[in-house]
C-alpha cells in the first residue's frame, strides 16, 4: 500500500530551485534512504512534506489524503513527523519536559505523558540526561532529543534528517539498532544521512538527490553503482 505519494514537488527560493519536480512513492512500512551532496535539497524536501514550507508547485498525498500546503501541526497530527537537522530544543525545558510536550499529543494527563516520554528517552539512550536542561546537551544529545520527540508522537511516517551526524561511531550503533527496531514496529521511515554505512545497513530503497532533482531511485546496491551517483556524490573510492 502507498503511504506517501509525492508528485512533481517543487520549491523555488527566488529563482533557485531547491527542490525540482521530485516524484517519489513511499510504501507503507518501507525504509527509504536519501542521500545527496550538500545543498541537494534533502532538508527542503522534508520541510515541504512536513509543512514547514509551502511548495511552489506539486502535490503531496499522505495516507490517501492530499496534504499539500497543510500547516505543520496538522501534518504532524496526521502521523507524518520530521526531525530537524539543525536541532531545535525547547531550551527552557529539561529533556524529559521536551519529550513530554511531544508525548502530550497522545496523552492528555501529565503523568501519562511523562511516563511515555521517559520510556522513549530510555530507548534513545538519553536517560542520563533526563532532568538536564535541554540547552546544556552536547550535539549528540540534541540529535537524540530530536529523535525522541519525534518518536513520542508515535508517527506513521518518520522523516529523519541526519540524526547520526555528530555522533561518534560507538554512539551510532545503538541508534542504528533503534531505527531498525522502530522500522520493525511498522513505522515507515525516510532517512536522510551522509554516513553511508548506516544508509546501506538500513535502507530498502535509496533516493539520490542532486541540485534539487532526483538523480536515482531504487535498490541501494544498484543505485550506488550508478556512474552518475558516483560522480555527483560518492566519488570513485566508494564504488
Amino acid at each position: 500500500m502507498t503511504l506517501l505519494q509525492v508528485d512533481q514537488l517543487t520549491k523555488s527560493f527566488s529563482g533557485l530551485r531547491a527542490v525540482s519536480d521530485v516524484d517519489v512513492t513511499v510504501t507503507d512500512g518501507e525504509f527509504l534512504g536519501i542521500i545527496g551532496p550538500n545543498g541537494a535539497g534533502k532538508t527542503t524536501l522534508f520541510s515541504l512534506l512536513a509543512g514547514q514550507l509551502p511548495p511552489t508547485s506539486g502535490r503531496v498525498v499522505f495516507d490517501g489524503q492530499d496534504i499539500t500546503g497543510w500547516p505543520a501541526d496538522k501534518v504532524a497530527g496526521a502521523g507524518l513527523v520530521r526531525t530537524f537537522q539543525l536541532m531545535r530544543p525547547f531550551e527552557s525545558m529539561s529533556v524529559l519536559e521536551n519529550v513530554a510536550v511531544a508525548a502530550h499529543h497522545r496523552h492528555r494527563s501529565r503523568r501519562a505523558a511523562r511516563r511515555h516520554a521517559l520510556e522513549v528517552i530510555e530507548r534513545v539512550r538519553l536517560a542520563e540526561y533526563v532532568h538536564a536542561p535541554s540547552g546544556s546537551l552536547p550535539t549528540a544529545g540534541l540529535k537524540r532529543l530530536e529523535l525522541a520527540r519525534a518518536l513520542a508522537l508515535e508517527p506513521r511516517l518518520l522523516l529523519l534528517d541526519e540524526v547520526l551526524a555528530g555522533l561518534v561511531p560507538a554512539e551510532r550503533a545503538p541508534i542504528i539498532e533503534l531505527l531498525r527496531e522502530i522500522h520493525a514496529d511498522g513505522v515507515t521511515v525516510m532517512f536522510v544521512e551522509h554516513i553511508m554505512a548506516a544508509v546501506m545497513a538500513l535502507s530498502e530503497r535509496l533516493l539520490v538527490m542532486a541540485e534539487g532533482q532526483e538523480l536515482a531511485l531504487g535498490d541501494p546496491q544498484e543505485v550506488i553503482r550508478d556512474p552518475r551517483v558516483v560522480e555527483a556524490y560518492l566519488g570513485e573510492d566508494y564504488a
Binding site: 505543520a72 530544543p89 525547547f90 510536550v101 508515535e154 514496529d185
Partner: protein, 348 residues
Amino acid sequence: MTTLTERPTTIAADDPRLKDSSATRSYAVLGVLVAVLAVLPFLLDDQTETVAVRTLIFAIMAVGWNLMSGYGGMFSFGHAAFFGIGAYTDAYLLVQHGVSPWIAMVVGALISAAAGTLIAFLCLRYKLAGPYFALATFAFAQVFLLAVQNIDALNRTEGFNVPILSEDSWTMMQWKAGSPLYFWIPLGILALGLLGTIWFVHSRTGQYAQAVRDDETAAASLGINVMRVRLVTVAASCALTSVAGSFYTQYYFFVGPEQGFGSAVSVNAIVPAVIGGIGTIWGPLVGALIVGPLSEWIADVLREPPGFLSFLEGLSGLDVAVYAALLILIVLFMPKGIYGTLRDRFRS
C-alpha cells in the same frame, strides 16, 4: 500496524524519575504565603494598609501580564486596555445599572479575554512578533483610551464615581473605610491568579505555551496548534488583569480614562514582573512587593520633598523615571529578575 503504544511500557508507574514535586511545592508555598499575608490587616495601620492594597493590585496585574508575556513570550505593552476594560465594566454596570461588582468583575474579565484574543489574533495573523507585537498592543490600548475619552455613555474624560453607601454591603463590595475585606479581596484574587498560574504552568496547555515560546517551528512540528495555544494564554492573561481593574474601581471609588487605560497602567503591569522575574511563578509578586511601597514612597517625596530634594516638589513623572532606572539596572545585571536570579543561584 503495530505502533509504539502497543509495546508494553517498560517504565513503572511509580518510577522515581517521574516524580515532579515542583507543582506541589508551589501550591504549599502559596498556601503559607496567603496565610501569612492574611493577618496583615490586623498589624498595619490604615495608611500602610492602603499601600499594601495598592501592592496587591500591582501584583495581580503583573501575574496576569506574566502569563502572556512571560510564559507565552508575547510581550504586551498594552495591558492597560484590559485593566481599563475591567475598571470601566465595573463602573459602568454599577453606576448605570446597579449591577453587583462581583458580576461586573466576571463580565469585565470575559470582555477582556475576548478583546485580548481578538487583538492578539490580528497581531499574530499578520506575523507581528517581538517589539512589533509590543508596539501593536500599545497602539490598541491607546485607541481604547481615546475611544473612552470620546464616548458619552462612558462620561468621556470625567470617568465614573462609585456612589458611597451608608452601610456595609457584600453585594456591592463596600465596607467602611479600613475594613480588612479591602485587603482580603485582592489577596484572594491574587491567590486565585497564582493558583491558576501554577496549575497552568504544569498543564498540557501551559507546557505547550512554553514550547511555543521557546521555538514555534519545533512546537508546530510536534502537532501543537500554535495559534490556539497562544490565544488561550492571552485570554487568561487579559482576564486576570481585568479583574485587577474592576477591584481598582471598587477600592478607589473612581475611575477615569487615565486610571483605566493610561499607558502608565501598562507600565505598572510590566515593571513588577520584569523586576521580579518574567516567566517565573513568584517573580511578579516579588516585584510588586518592591514596586508597591516604592511608588508610595515616591509619591510622598513629591508631596513633601526633604530639603535637598526641594526642587522636586509638585513634579510628576518621577515614578516613571525611577521605574525606568530600575528596569535598566535589572535588564543589565539581572535579566532573569530578582526572584529568577536568586532561584537559579540556589539551584546550582
